[in-house]
Amino acid sequence: MNAVTPIEMEGVVERFDDMGALEEGWAALSKADLRDEEMTRKSVARVRRAFVITVLILLVFNSAGLVQLVQGLSIGPVQDTIIVMSETWHGEMERHGVADVLSDIRTWVTELVQRSWDDVFFADPDLRLGEVASGADEDQKDRTGLLRGAVLETSGS
């Protein structure tokens, strides 16, 4: 324990000549307690600010989630206002393209999830075993069609 005991009330630290004369409502705190209190105050403020920034980031980039959340609210004038405000906000985010970040990431992940072993080992479709010949056939058919169309057009004119 620390020997020095400053007197504190509502954050104000003072010293009395007569250390025994504590008025009601005053408390004696050790320096260690004051240090803990200050550290806690700073840490709480830091986390609070970090949470506020997190909420802002989620409101901007996940406005669709906000709409989904408020649609679960019961019916009432306040709830209706919240829903309208949320939808307007989401509309704005969509208009500026910010809401697309979420869907872009989801599309990329969905492609990753659906990728098969063939996609991994034979990334270039032209190099897929067994598909070279069929690919060539497909290509040939397209060209034949083009030629056929050209012939028909020619013959029709």
Partner: protein
């Protein structure tokens, strides 16, 4: 209210802000946290808040009665009554249907069919966890490891504190109650650790566990008879990772949230799949439960003080009851029994091996190092596969499906249907994580410790958003909620 939801996010923001505003009035803060915990629990079903309150108050009164008595016989009677009362609550809600169904099957087999009083009993979320915490408090008071609490609020908060209420970790009274008496503090280290654990828990649960569950484990265990060995093998590896990420993810979030509210919980998992023996596995897996079973069941049964065969019996009984604790089904009983039996076999074999091949004096250091490393690698692989074998029975809906699963390992010709590169990558990544330095999380926490809020906020916000975007849509409940 599930952790990875917007509802919980809003709830926690309110609890965080208000509870720290009340930090100078410790009693008021505890009352507020208790009210918040009951709100959290009541979100599922308000009716069971009454059960939670009654259970907590009963344990408080039993504790007070024990604290005021000196006569050993009377103390033993009271602790016995308290344990019976706690186990009766658990037994009724969790095992009533199971025992009656089992009894019905036996009577039908014997040709003595009867109309039994079946009831539709709803299982209250987290009943196993808060019952075990109640027993822990009573036994600790009986053993005089902790003083009987004068404050009912402290006991109610200890049993109902929302981060650990529904799926642990099981917190010990001797560890948590003294923290309630002190003025709460929030250090930069607790902030760093709390944020890191919350993020790690979200990744484990929302990304890894949820993808493995929906894309691999659920379809593979639905009908294993139509799948080949590769799918089944990757499926059970997937389940091993899914249950680890699901449960340790929950524990990480719980420990992280408690740290952000100024309370310290002990770790519940410690890279379990790097274990080179089943004994080591149980020192690393669900640590709060295995230490609870050790202190309140294995040691009271006699532990290793009752001779060689007594030790095997106690190991077996402890794991048998540990299996039954997990769920009211014979597959869980088999799972626990298998672990109990194999722990006994492992103990027997390692003792015989040590007596047959004692360490050789003067053996070159290089040789002993190579042999240690080789036996460690073999031990890790063998233990992992033993654990996976038991997981098949833990996950399968019935013994029939579990046997279909095992039979399927003989079929290596059926093409792979579910084991995609993405899922194999998730499993491999999670397994590799088990061999990273054990202090990795603490190092990341140390890195976050001094980040100012203009850096911490965007980093945390971007991480939460990215996890949300990458995770499959919808929120699956945690596996351990059913226990």
């Amino acid at each position: 209210m599930l952790f990875p939801t917007f509802e919980f996010g809003i709830f926690f923001l309110i609890v965080f802000v208000v509870s720290w505003e009340l930090r100078r009035t410790v009693d008021l803060r505890k009352l507020f946290l208790l009210a918040a915990s009951y709100t959290f629990y009541g979100w599922w079903d308000w009716r069971f808040v009454g059960l939670l309150v009654v259970s907590s108050l009963a344990n408080y009164l039993f504790g007070r009665a024990l604290g005021g008595l000196e006569r050993d016989g009377l103390r033993r009677t009271i602790v016995g009554l308290a344990v019976i009362a706690n186990l009766s609550v658990l037994g009724f809600f969790k095992y009533y249907g199971f025992f009656l169904e089992s009894l019905d099957d036996i009577l039908i087999t014997l040709g003595l069919e009867r109309d039994l009083p079946f009831l539709e009993v709803i299982l209250p979320v987290g009943v196993s966890f808060f019952t075990f915490q109640g027993i822990s408090y009573i036994v600790d008071v009986y053993r005089r490891d902790v003083a009987a609490q004068r404050s009912a609020v402290d006991i109610c908060l200890y049993i109902s504190f929302f981060p650990q209420l529904v799926a642990g970790p099981i917190v010990r009274a001797a560890h948590f109650l003294p923290q309630l008496e002190d003025k709460p503090t929030l250090t930069p280290a607790m902030v760093g650790l709390g944020i890191t654990l919350v993020l790690s828990g979200l990744i484990k649960k929302m990304v890894i566990a949820n993808y493995l569950a929906t894309e691999l484990v659920d379809p593979v265990f639905f009908d294993p008879s139509v799948l080949g060995a590769v799918d089944l093998l990757i499926g059970v590896y997937g389940y091993a990772i899914q249950i680890y990420c699901d449960f340790s993810g929950y524990s990480d979030i719980a420990i992280g949230l408690a740290a952000l509210l100024g309370y310290k919980f002990n770790a519940n998992f410690n890279q379990p799949y790097r274990s080179a023996s089943l004994r080591e596995f149980w020192l690393r897996w669900h640590i709060s439960l295995s230490s609870w079973l050790r202190d309140y069941l294995y040691i009271p049964l006699g532990g290793s003080r009752k001779g060689e065969w007594g030790t095997y019996r106690n190991l077996f009984l402890t794991m048998f009851l540990g299996g039954l604790w997990h769920g009211a089904a014979w597959t869980f009983v088999f799972w626990g029994t298998f672990h109990g039996a194999m722990l006994g076999v492992e103990r027997y074999v390692s003792r015989r091996f040590a007596s047959l091949a004692p360490p050789v004096e003067g053996e070159p250091q290089v040789v002993s190092r190579i042999s240690d490393a080789a036996s460690w690698v073999v031990g890790v692989i063998f233990t992992f596969h033993m654990v996976c074998f038991a997981w098949i029975f833990f996950r399968a809906e019935s013994f029939g499906l579990a046997f279909d699963y095992l039979i399927g390992f003989g079929d290596w010709s059926t093409p792979v249907q579910h084991a995609t590169p993405f899922l194999v990558m998730l499993i491999a990544g999670a397994l590799v994580f088990h061999f990273t330095p054990p202090s990795l999380g603490r190092w990341i926490g140390e890195g976050m410790k001094w980040l100012p809020s203009p850096a911490l906020g965007p980093a945390f916000g971007a991480a939460v958003f990215f996890i949300w975007a990458v995770a499959p849509e919808g929120v699956a409940p945690f596996i351990y909620f059913q226990f």
